[in-house]
Homo-oligomer: 377 residues x 2
C-alpha cells in the first residue's frame, strides 16, 4: 500500500518537473492516478475497466472525479482532499451511460476554476473532458512522458509495496519446485502456483506470465498455460508476476521435468553466470547497454549464443517499463530504479532456460528483491 507521505513526495517531484506557469494537472492514466493518490480500482471487482480522474493543484489540493459506483471498488485509502462523485446507480433507478459520468463530474468541479493554465494527459484523457477544459490546458507539455520518467525513481513506500508482491511471488516458486513433475499439465502448475500466491498474499490478486514447457523440439514457448502434459526431459520456464494494487513482481526459474541432461545443466549454469555478471555491475549511472553486454558476453564465454532478446527491464506499475536493458539501449540506470535481469537461451536439441531476479538500484549498487531458489530441481 502506498502512503500519504509517498504520494506527497511524488506530487512535489511532479511540480518541480513542470513549468511554473502550470497551476493544475488533470491525471487520467489509471497508473498515474494510483501513483499520486493511492486510488486504484481493484481489477478483481465489478468496476474493473472503469477509471477515476485526479485533479491536482500546485497549491496542494487534490480532487478525485468518478461515478459513485466506481468509488466503491477502490483497493485502499484515497489520499485526496475532496471527491466529486456523480451518481450513476443508486439501486432504485434506471441508469444512463456510466462512462459519461466523469466528464459530468469534471464540469461541475471545474466550473469553480478560473482560466488558469494546466496540463492534461492527452494519451488517456477522453475527448468528453474538452467541453470543460478547452483552451485551458497546455497541450505542448507531454504530461504522460513527464510522469513516466518520474516513475523510474521508486519512493520508499513503493519499494515496501513491491516487496509484498515479491514475497507472494516467492511462495508460488516454492510450490512449483515441489509440484512440477511428469504427468501434470502446465495448467495444473498454474493452479498450484496461484493457490500458493493467494495464501501468501492473503487477498485476491492477479498472477500472469509464462507457464510453459520447452524441450529439445520446442525450445522457445511463452504465455499462459495451454493444457500441455509435462514429460520427462522438458524444461518448464516459470516466469510470472504477482500484481497487488497495480505494482508487480517479475521473476523466473526454470525447472527440469525428471533428471536434467548435462547440456540442460550447462545451459542453466551459463544463465546463472550471465545473471551474476549483470548483477555485479548494477549501480546508478551505468549504461544499460553495458549491463546487456556483460550478460550477453558471459553467455558466449560459456559456449552459448548471445542473448536473443533483452537482458532485463524496469518494473513497477507497468511491465516492461524503462529502462530497457537491451543491445542498443540509450538508457542509464538511476538511483531508485527497480529492474529485472533475465538472461535466457533457447537451444534446439536442449530446450529453453531463463532465470530472473528483481533489483533496486541503491547508493551502494543494488539490492536483490527476489529470493526464489534458482535451480533446475
Amino acid at each position: 500500500m502506498l502512503t500519504k507521505e509517498g504520494c506527497n513526495k511524488r506530487r512535489e517531484r511532479l511540480w518541480a518537473s513542470l513549468p511554473d506557469s502550470v497551476e493544475w494537472v488533470l491525471i487520467s492514466n489509471p497508473r498515474h492516478v494510483k501513483y499520486f493518490s493511492n486510488i486504484w480500482l481493484n481489477p478483481v471487482s465489478f468496476s474493473a475497466g472503469q477509471t477515476v480522474w485526479l485533479h491536482l493543484e500546485r497549491s496542494g489540493n487534490a480532487t478525485a472525479l468518478a461515478d459513485n459506483f466506481t468509488l466503491k471498488s477502490l483497493s485502499g485509502e484515497a489520499y485526496v482532499d475532496e471527491t466529486v462523485s456523480e451518481i450513476w446507480y443508486d439501486g432504485k433507478n434506471s441508469v444512463e451511460n456510466r462512462d459519461s459520468k466523469q466528464a459530468i463530474a469534471l464540469k461541475k468541479h471545474f466550473g469553480t476554476l478560473d482560466l488558469r493554465t494546466g496540463a492534461v494527459e492527452e494519451d488517456s484523457l477522453a475527448i468528453a473532458a474538452l467541453e470543460t477544459i478547452q483552451g485551458k490546458p497546455e497541450l505542448n507539455i507531454k504530461l504522460g512522458d513527464v510522469i513516466k520518467f518520474l516513475r523510474r525513481k521508486k519512493e520508499a513506500d513503493e519499494v515496501e509495496h513491491l516487496k509484498t508482491c515479491m514475497r507472494a511471488c516467492e511462495a508460488g516458486h516454492v510450490a512449483a519446485l515441489e509440484y512440477v513433475r511428469a504427468g501434470v499439465t502446465d495448467m495444473d502448475v498454474y493452479r498450484a502456483v496461484h493457490a500458493a500466491v493467494l495464501e501468501e498474499a492473503g487477498r485476491p490478486c492477479v498472477v500472469y506470465g509464462d507457464f510453459r514447457a520447452t524441450n529439445a523440439e520446442l525450445p522457445k514457448a511463452g504465455g499462459l498455460p495451454i493444457g500441455y502434459t509435462l514429460q520427462d526431459g522438458d524444461l518448464y520456464i516459470l516466469d510470472y508476476s504477482v500484481i497487488l494494487d497495480g505494482y508487480r513482481s517479475d521473476f523466473t526459474n526454470t525447472i527440469a521435468v525428471g533428471e536434467p541432461s548435462s547440456d540442460q545443466q550447462a545451459l542453466m549454469n551459463a544463465c546463472i553466470a550471465s545473471l551474476e555478471a549483470g548483477e555485479e555491475a548494477l549501480r546508478a549511472d551505468i549504461s544499460c547497454k553495458t549491463i546487456f553486454d556483460l550478460c550477453s558476453d558471459t553467455m558466449v564465454a560459456k559456449g552459448f549464443e548471445p542473448l536473443p532478446s533483452h537482458a532485463g527491464h524496469g518494473l513497477g506499475l507497468e511491465h516492461p517499463e524503462p529502462p530497457a536493458i537491451v543491445a542498443n539501449s540509450t538508457d542509464t540506470l538511476l538511483l531508485g530504479d527497480v529492474v529485472t535481469l533475465e538472461p535466457g537461451n533457447y537451444i534446439p536439441g536442449i530446450g529453453g532456460v531463463r532465470i530472473e531476479r528483481n533489483y533496486l538500484i541503491t547508493e551502494s549498487g543494488s539490492e536483490n528483491l527476489s529470493h526464489q531458489r534458482i535451480a533446475l530441481r
Copy 2:
C-alpha cells in the same frame, strides 16, 4: 469465444442504428472493441491496462490500431481485415511512451482517408486522436450510448460464451458447498472457489464478488474476503462472477455455517419464493418495475421487509449493466437480454441471505443459465 459471424451481425446492427451520413466509426471502449472484433486484451497478461482501437467502415473494412506489444496479449482471434501496429518495443532498443502509439498508428492509417463523416466514442477516445480526426467526426452522435443499447440483445455467440462462464461459476459453487464450515476463513473459501473455477475453465480467469459471512450482529457484508474465520451460526453469502474474455457470470447462494436456525431457513425460503415469483414473470416487453414489485411483494408476503436494493440487473461485458430491475425502473425487458434476479434480505438477529440466478430472455419467456444448487446446506 465470439465468432466472426457474430461480430458481423453486431456491426450490421450498428450501421443500421447510425445515420447514413456516418461512413466510419472509431471504437475505443475496450468492451466495444471486443464486441465488434473479438479483440480482448487478457487482463491476466503484461498488457493489462493497454488498449486497442478499432476503425470500422460502413463499406465493411475493419482495422485494429495498437502498439506491437499489446497485440501479443490478445485472448483469441482478431476478426479484422487489417492491423496497424506501431512498434513500441522490439527487445533491442530503448522505448518511448507506450500510450502514445495508438494515436501515431491512427495518424498513419487515417492519412489515407478523405474528410468523410464518422463517429467516435467521446467518453473513451483520447484527446491525442484529435490531431488526426479533428473536424471529421460527428460529435453529436453519442456513439457509446448507441453501442451500449445494442449490447442488450445478446447474439448466439455471446450466449454460448456466457454459458462457458456459467459452467465455471457453477464449479466454484459446488466446491463452496463442500468446503464452508466453522474454522475456515472467508479467504480460504475464496481460494477453494478459485481453484475449482480454474479447473473447470481450464485457463486463467478473474473471479470477483462477495465472499463474506453475515450473522445476527452483522447482517450485511459484501466484497472480497477479509480473513474472517467462519463460525457456527454465520450465513456465508457467495455472490461472485467469473470473467472469461470480458463476459461474465454472476450468481449467488448463501451457505449456513453449521445448522441453520429456523429463522434463517424462513429467510432463505422467502428469498426462494421471491426469486420464483420474478422468474415466472420474465419475458420480453414486461416492465422491469413489475418484476421488481413481484420479487419485493413476495418477500413481504413471506413476512420480511421489501427488497432493500435491486431485484436484478443486466449482465454481459459489464456488471451491472442495463436493464435495472429496481423500484423506479423505466426499463423494459428485451428479447436477448441476459439478466440476473437476486432477491436478498439482511435482518438483525438473523443474518443475511441472498440468492441469484442468471436468465436469457427468449421467445418463450426465459431460460435459466445458472444451475448451482440453491440451499443453506
